[in-house]
Symmetry: D2
Subunit: 448 residues, 4 copies
Amino acid sequence: MAAADDMSLTPLDSPLYGNLLSDEEAASLLDAKAEIAAFLKFEAALAAAEAEAGVIPGAAADAIAEVAGALDIDPASLGEGTARDGVPIPALVTLLRGALPEEAAPYVHWGATSQDVTDSGLVLRLRDFLGMAEGRLAKLGDLLAQLADRHRGQVMLGRTRMQQAAPTTFGLKAAVWLSALSLQRQRLRELRPRLLTLSFGGAVGTLSALGARAEAVERGLAERLGLSVAPIPWHAERGRLLELGGWLSQTTVALGKMGQDLVLLTQNEVQEVRLQGGGSSTMPNKVNPVSAEALVTLARFNAAQLGLLHQAGVQEQERGGAGWMLEWLTLPPMLLGCAGSLSQAQRCLEGLEIDPGRMQGNFEAALGLPLAESISFALAEVMPRQEAQALVKAACRRALNEQRDLLDVLAENSDLAVDFAALRDPSRWLGSSDRFIGKALAEWRDRG
Amino acid sequence: MAAADDMSLTPLDSPLYGNLLSDEEAASLLDAKAEIAAFLKFEAALAAAEAEAGVIPGAAADAIAEVAGALDIDPASLGEGTARDGVPIPALVTLLRGALPEEAAPYVHWGATSQDVTDSGLVLRLRDFLGMAEGRLAKLGDLLAQLADRHRGQVMLGRTRMQQAAPTTFGLKAAVWLSALSLQRQRLRELRPRLLTLSFGGAVGTLSALGARAEAVERGLAERLGLSVAPIPWHAERGRLLELGGWLSQTTVALGKMGQDLVLLTQNEVQEVRLQGGGSSTMPNKVNPVSAEALVTLARFNAAQLGLLHQAGVQEQERGGAGWMLEWLTLPPMLLGCAGSLSQAQRCLEGLEIDPGRMQGNFEAALGLPLAESISFALAEVMPRQEAQALVKAACRRALNEQRDLLDVLAENSDLAVDFAALRDPSRWLGSSDRFIGKALAEWRDRG
Amino acid sequence: MAAADDMSLTPLDSPLYGNLLSDEEAASLLDAKAEIAAFLKFEAALAAAEAEAGVIPGAAADAIAEVAGALDIDPASLGEGTARDGVPIPALVTLLRGALPEEAAPYVHWGATSQDVTDSGLVLRLRDFLGMAEGRLAKLGDLLAQLADRHRGQVMLGRTRMQQAAPTTFGLKAAVWLSALSLQRQRLRELRPRLLTLSFGGAVGTLSALGARAEAVERGLAERLGLSVAPIPWHAERGRLLELGGWLSQTTVALGKMGQDLVLLTQNEVQEVRLQGGGSSTMPNKVNPVSAEALVTLARFNAAQLGLLHQAGVQEQERGGAGWMLEWLTLPPMLLGCAGSLSQAQRCLEGLEIDPGRMQGNFEAALGLPLAESISFALAEVMPRQEAQALVKAACRRALNEQRDLLDVLAENSDLAVDFAALRDPSRWLGSSDRFIGKALAEWRDRG
Amino acid sequence: MAAADDMSLTPLDSPLYGNLLSDEEAASLLDAKAEIAAFLKFEAALAAAEAEAGVIPGAAADAIAEVAGALDIDPASLGEGTARDGVPIPALVTLLRGALPEEAAPYVHWGATSQDVTDSGLVLRLRDFLGMAEGRLAKLGDLLAQLADRHRGQVMLGRTRMQQAAPTTFGLKAAVWLSALSLQRQRLRELRPRLLTLSFGGAVGTLSALGARAEAVERGLAERLGLSVAPIPWHAERGRLLELGGWLSQTTVALGKMGQDLVLLTQNEVQEVRLQGGGSSTMPNKVNPVSAEALVTLARFNAAQLGLLHQAGVQEQERGGAGWMLEWLTLPPMLLGCAGSLSQAQRCLEGLEIDPGRMQGNFEAALGLPLAESISFALAEVMPRQEAQALVKAACRRALNEQRDLLDVLAENSDLAVDFAALRDPSRWLGSSDRFIGKALAEWRDRG
């Protein structure tokens, strides 16, 4: 593909859309150059471990390490070989051998299979990616923790099933968003040791070419790469990657839920928050909630790729082909989507303006109806609850018809010994909001 | 839906297909009756906890517990209300109140929202389900451990990218299958405490109706139900369920990989294993690998539902509607699919016959070509490796053309000081097979 | 599965959720009883066609027709056989033979394979289903056509990217919904002849058992079943079903888009429409847009199943196993989801109340900002367009800050010879709304 | 994204993997440069149509056409604007205006909305793509038609549910593959007029800025772009794109089924066909069926993206945001995947070697068991069918146990007046194979 360097087809890779839906830093950790570098790192470490175990000459290993460390391979130069062999390693090994002194060349890739290199190379890049993702998650969570704390007492309408329901606080809303990240941080710590594992099994997962020295090579290779050793090769058992995919998609879904909430809050009729950016090409009055929409887009994108990654998990026999290549089409977009979502969420929150006046205004415009549940529980202290609910329901209708405040309607039409005015006090209906925020903040800190 | 009891539409529910693709025991843990029972259990425990915390009268709580424990609600009787309200709880609460003495009726469902009941009711059934699934996983893993151990030395052809590659053992194959279950067992233990959590937040997640007594009620309710308390309500933050979905799909994918392997091994041209069942309606000669195919089917089914479950995770504001209902369409089939896969896998393995003669025969029919890698490494001890590979490649061609054994061809055509006969000894090319099996067995035991 | 009749696990089959998300009429066309009836119809027609072609004795065909027409097979009685054979036909043929006179019994299922029966039986039920779906589509389109026509001039805010943008009409909105159904009607007519095709190929698609009489039997069987004959058996080439799946999902997605619009319009802050139903268990003030939410739910459900149905399309060799069974798990839920969506949409629209006052009120509350585009084009007649846009943008800000009407602000602050009051006339900014509605109505009628 | 030009992250865009899984020609029709060119083409045609209709000055239109035709916009230069605005058009319009004489600049993009440009620009590129795809489909079908015709009489084992079943011909197998393409060609012709439709509605789908001249502009613009006019704007009604997605995925699934068949036929134990390419990095004996595997990979990839594209179809109100951006992430990969599959299939078939000897050999090695169905029907002419089936089943077992030919066993053990030798004649069991091939070839030609 001669013109490949100029291609920019999918928005995740595209200079046109990349800043909207993707992430440059993640891209640089994952792209073809990084991939080739990881492959070369594996080959160098393999040679070193094999030399140490007496499998190949030390001089050969030294030469391989030197050349692999300095070699600059143009990804396009491997394209033809990859198309022919179905994997880039044979072409890469040929190039690497060609750059080595004659006596060292034969010892490259000794006893390894292509998948050992590509899988371990993937894991190396995943380690970098997860480091970056964890850092971003931490920053994002801290931002949300600040938001939750700062707006602990900021009353706003709670909405359920897309309808105004009862009052809540903006702090509680942010704390719920935060709670998803706390669990994601915990899950990341649990999956990391399972994932950051060497892939090394040779042709069919027996390391047959290494005979009795296999264990030593395996250990030395893992140590050099900073990875752990799996009990048994995972060439065709892809659960580790499926688990990672779940984490990636759960992260984007959690942020997509936040994005969806923010989109809804920016509607002109609601407008309790404002976001940066989003001009229109024809309407001077518009500001589109682009960054929050992008979070929803990426959540839905990764959700579908996760299903596909699991389809790819049904791999045949000792090493699969079709399913393995399907991973290549699935996992990198998910990683980029997750990174794009993390950075977009950061930008989105940094540009977020809360409008307490509008929150209060919307609450007041609701004529006290969101207090209906609280009021009916208050009335239930002096009358049977169903009666209380019926009374409140009738008053709700009257308040709506007459566009008057529910508590006024009730106070006027009741001879009950109830201090209706006192029911306007948030402490009467914010319930455990503050307590829950506190617990969510503590959970974030405790799992930090 | 009058005739609903007679419906049997999707194979997971169908008397026609249920034994093939679903699971009766799981069905009984999850069906509408079990669902209603869990709802009633929640309402009873809520009343008890509220009585203890002084929110409602103890006599009311006693009456509620008694009636809820005895009430037999026909699921169909809630159908109309569910269609109207979008959730079965209002109709259920009405029925429950109607069955209670007048003085107790108002105290049912005090301060809870429908989602508290349905979510917590779901978690209660999930606990039962996971108990069952863990038990089956244990049995299945033990079966695989036995298989791996018993066939530790059973040589067979290893196949990669659908081609014969190099020798392996059936024990190693079974150990790889087992290794997936070991990790699934570990993951299940990690997710369980996150998942088995009370859902309790009231109308908008503030528990406003319970005021200062909310914490006590929450604690008492959780204790009675045997669930833990989440730091903050998870009405619209569905990561716990997404994580469960990942586990369900990873389980079916792991078993689907095994099923795919078995299907391939039953091919007439391979026939290294035989399965039970699978007659044809027109061909007397056929035995179809039905049980192994079903494992593949269920793996692909759950993979796609997982993607959908993640789509459902983007829920709006304090409590969503469309996404929440989407979970109802997604999670039960996944649970049944997972249970069906576990029971089908058990039957499949119990009926599995290994054919060592055929394994040996296929190995021999391969004319020694699967030893090509080993031989080239052996030759590489006495000549440069590329030269060895070229020599072996030429010999492979000749062996194929002349239909003779590769080692014979090599021995005949070489004046090298290589003991070719010795290369027929499995110890020369089984590499770490035995070691890996041992580690996989140890891992299974250690995580048991 | 002994208790299978009592199962009700997935909401599509469930007496609890069936009225909300599924459809009773479709269920009765598709359930296990209808399935078995279609199988028996196939076997009777096959025998008749074979007798006519001289393959089997006429008396045997008569007996088969009689018994197959009268036999009442309990789906559960086929459960065990289905689990064993991976398909219900062997067990069904055994039952059918058992009910026949000894001399007729051998001639049942002569030369057919199980898949001929199940696929053709599916097509027969699909024909009934599509008849029903087409009728519902027609009614629904007529309802939307009425809505579009009746509200042709009903001004409301148009919203893009979740923000108020510029005025439109409710008629245009309904006409856009309608336009999707017009195309779906057209697509249905195109796919029907491809889909309603006999499946008949015998064991491996050669009809070998029928020798030279195959063509006559094929023709006679197709005629009796009212199906067309495909050029070549489609046992393993499932494009016809994939195309149907696309139609089903496109239908639910079109209705899901309508549902999503309606949900957004019912928000309290917008409330330009009202729907029936949707009570809350704890909040007397709430009406949830349940029926519109269900449309979104079913759209997302079918979208994912479609992807899975395509996965199932990769079937092996002459007839697949795992992919074929995957269709059974995928297609019936899609059909139910589509039928449920069509009936839910009908109920939703029948209960729809439009609130012209609120539409007008929201428009006015927008302070004329949605006219910004129109105004800037009007101004562009007397000044450069960018200047006009800048002027309007500044005026928008001022209108917002001072909470005054944009046209007032502009009129006051401009010495331009522009008749700002005239810009309040809808004919100045409704553009082609009426024309588009007319074309959409004509398209609906023309394709009727 | 400064380094964007160097990115190569997803295999569809990557110089590393592009030749394996993607397609350079399609890439050049779809990439960012082609996208920008289509945008500019739209803006030029819009200006010309508006000048003709008297909306803008002719001189301005001429200037716009000239500049838009010559402008070379670096995609990266639009990246920042796209990220800010959520769509590249505002930044593109700004650049275009900047390149125009002052008097023409204001008339760019007059009355259009960003989505008019991006959607119509997409349709223009889709037209090019479909032209290319149709050509490739024609070539591929012709190749398959030749294969089917040439191997009309080539007997081979038919396999169902992964087991040898009964004999078929390679010609019939190829004809079944072909039959999928015949229908795809028909479907393409039906969808094309629906798809190749101008998108033009202005801010909210009313074309309000164009007043009474809208219809003339619409017509003139469509003529200039060679597109038809939809009855009503489809900004938020995405059925056309969903239908295209279905076609793309059905194409890749049809080729994926062929790929799966070929992979299975290349297994060493079967090896009835051979493919080009597919070397191993460590095993000199291996040839991996890479090109056929890639067809399976791309089929599964597109299947999942189709489900996601349908998710994206639920777009809000007059124009959506999140769902619209989701299309951008979904459709280009599907187009590339389809193009990659078409070109890979071509290469795969061009390199395909059929091995008639092996087909015959495998058939013979099956000991006549695949004739079991035919034999039992032949016997059923002289005895009851069940008896015949039982007799054949017993003989099958004996043939297997004694490794002898089924017909020999039967001939030896039967005193029946059956000419068993005559049953070896393919005309006795190839049934309608030849007839079906003929019909499939005719269908391909008739729809050409």
